[in-house]
């Protein structure tokens, strides 16, 4: 349920009713739809915040700029879009995003699906070269959420027919696996175990993961860790007394 900006139930007598017409005039229907789904789970009670609509509006504008050159005089495709097939991180993130959006949408977890599309957009924005296939994929994923923008970009990307009945993209499960590495864990310099963690894990998280390992935790029980030597991607060593 959506409350007014004052955190109260919307009612005429309280004067806190927000009319969708005004929101649409200012930010568009796609932004309104996206914002309502981004606010949180359907069953949660949450207050309306106009700057939240502003935020998703900026996201949609970023998607627009991925495909369209906003500095040109007329509507022109962005020159950064290239025909080369996606590879590396873009390819992996593309498949992970398809998977996340598909699964979350089917189980009505719309807010996390939107987050995934936002992250993928940020990745593409940062990339110097944007594979056309990856941008098109984002447009297809966005179609149920922001159908007007998706139809428009789909059409500008050279498709004659409505996007509404295009088959939903599939993902390659192999590519959605995150890279994991094994890191040895020592106590007083002796190898006591190996933990599997994500390759790009931060230092603190790596130490926490080592401590959380059942075998290591058992050995550290009741002991004082004087020092923890953490070398990302390489090693964790606990010095105990």
């Amino acid at each position: 349920m959506i409350l007014g900006e004052d955190n109260q139930k919307m009612s005429k007598s309280r004067g806190n009713v927000i009319n969708p017409d005004e929101v649409i005039r200012e930010y568009g229907a796609d932004a309104l739809r996206l914002y309502e789904m981004f606010m949180g789970p359907l069953e949660a009670v949450k207050p309306w915040q106009m700057n939240g609509v502003e935020g998703v509006y900026r996201f949609l504008a970023r998607v627009w700029r991925l495909a369209i050159d906003h500095e040109a005089e007329t509507v022109t495709l962005n020159a950064k879009m290239v025909d080369a097939a996606p590879s590396g991180e873009v390819l992996r993130e593309m498949h992970r995003t398809i998977r996340k959006v598909t699964e979350d949408t089917e189980s009505l977890r719309f807010n996390t699906a939107i987050s995934a599309m936002m992250e993928f957009t940020n990745l593409l924005t940062k990339s110097e070269e944007r594979p056309r296939e990856a941008v098109t994929m984002l447009v297809r994923l966005l179609s149920p959420y922001a159908p007007h923008l998706a139809e428009e970009l789909w059409s500008l990307l050279g498709n004659a027919k409505t996007l509404a009945y295009e088959p939903w993209p599939a993902y390659d499960p192999e590519l959605t696996k995150s890279d994991t590495i094994e890191v040895p864990v020592q106590i007083n310099g002796k190898l006591k175990g190996v933990i599997a963690v994500e390759a790009n894990i931060e230092k603190d998280a790596l130490e926490a993961a080592a401590k959380a390992d059942a075998k290591i935790a058992e050995m550290l029980k009741g002991k004082v860790v004087k020092k923890a030597i953490v070398v990302p991607k390489k090693l964790v060593n606990f010095v105990i007394g």
């Binding site: 349920m1 009319n19 969708p20 309104l32 309502e36 089917e106």
Partner: protein, 610 residues
Amino acid sequence: MPSYHPAEIEPRWQRYWAEHKTFTTPDEPQPGQTKYYILDMFPYPSGDGLHVGHPEGYTATDILARLKRHLGCHVLHPMGWDAFGLPAEQYAIKTNQHPRKTTEKNIATFKRQIQALGFSYDWDREVDTTDPAYFKWTQWIFLKLYDTWYDPELKKGRPISELPIPENVAAKGPEFVAVWRNVKRLAYQAEVPVNWCPAMGTVLSNEEVIDGKSEVGGHPVERRPLKQWLMRITAYADRLLDELEPLDWSESIKQMQRNWIGKREGAEVRFDVDPSTLREGLELEINVFTTRPDTLFGATYMVLSPEHPFVADLATEPQSAAVKAYQEASSRKSDFERTEMAKTKTGVFTGAYAINPVNGVKIPIWIADYVLATYGTGAIMAVPGHDERDYEFAKQFNLPIICVVIPADRSTVDLPHTDTGIAIHSDFLDGLDTSAAKAKITAWLAEKKLGTPRVNYKLRDWLFSRQRYWGEPFPLLHELDANGNRTGVIRVEDKLPLTLPVLEDYKPTGTPEGPLSKAADWVNVTIDGKQYQRETNTMPQWAGSCWYYLRYIDARNDAALADPKKLKHWLPVDLYIGGAEHAVLHLLYSRFWHKVLYDCGIVDCKEPLP
């Protein structure tokens, strides 16, 4: 100007979808397509238009509908208007224009606003509950209910023509047969206590009454028995409970349904009124329902609802003025105020005593409005040692409190002890645990003909008539005799829909007949030389919203509610999103009608939602 400009993009695509009928759902699926029916709670088109809370659920369902189309499903995603209701009528009273006009205007606003959000509804299936082409079928379903009785043996609704007529009834003639049938129909008339608001000239629901006054306008409201149309939903109570179990719904919604139905097993117990406290020659027995017959030895007084028919006979001379005053005061309160909201218990002693059937003890009979006339038998045995409300009441009025159940672990007992345990101070029940004590006392009561095992439900029959203009008219005619009095024979309208008459004004009449009674030409009908009066009540707003999900399936069919083949293809609904406020009554009423339609062979699944 190639920056992101939704104001230019969005209306253009909305026009494209409309012109190309992009979201029109073909009746036939393509080979290999699975169907997916996504239903929204359809809105009441108020004069205020949409606020941003409305599109929350609609956006969620639209996202799913669009995803399912991408996934190749045969998607049904329609929208419509639950457009009968009080606000349009009140506006009509104020401005003296037909509610149809405001309704059409409001629908246009809602539709414009909804379309501006880019939802992918199939607008060719749009329904409006106030459209005669729609309510023709609401009336048709009403007649199905009117024409059906519930067979408890087969546990299903059957045509009234198949109702067995006892020989002695048949022997008395067709009028008696008609009465026999009328009391068994799923749609029937009865005198029931209702919240009557004289100023608004209508019956109000409990939720519409606050502090004895109408929520809208603050007019006084009184309890009054009125002849009303009811739906025998209680006949389906067990099926509404049992058939809930296999459904894939959230446990909280199932629990709300169970709580509303409120099935309780126990015993009905007979208490004789001590004749020495009654008028010479009068004999009365009061039946109560209890789920805890094992606590009978702890019953120290009785309470009747102020509307109980025995109250006048029970009130002794010195008490009668106080009793009358109390009855008067409670007639101005709603059930909700009398039970949930009451902070302190009130009540009056009638002066009469009853005899506790298990030990012959004389116990005082009180009236108090925390006992409702419509709940159980309208009378209770009070066991203050083991019931919260009885305990509070006994403390307030200094009535005796006896402990007859102690905790199972025999620890110290803290009254009221409402939990089960072990019986004490209960003669032949002493030492038994609660379930054994219940079984023993129930058998004992049955043997002495003082009581019977009973199942009781909190669910009441559904009050189905309103004294309003802007609702579906009942397609029924009351036969009149030569003096213009109703004979009790009811004739069914030959042709549907029966539409509303146009009135000079829409003001309430201030009588239970409702505004339709003002349309003399419409009300009085002669058929084959016989005089009839049309029913002047209208149906509640629930009537149209109970079954709208069926009409979307074949919204323009004029020959049937919907083509059976199409019903079979689309039902049940695959995904429904509606507010929590619809999780109890709306859902229960829909399920009830659906089950009746199932019994009549109209739909071939037992539940509207899987």
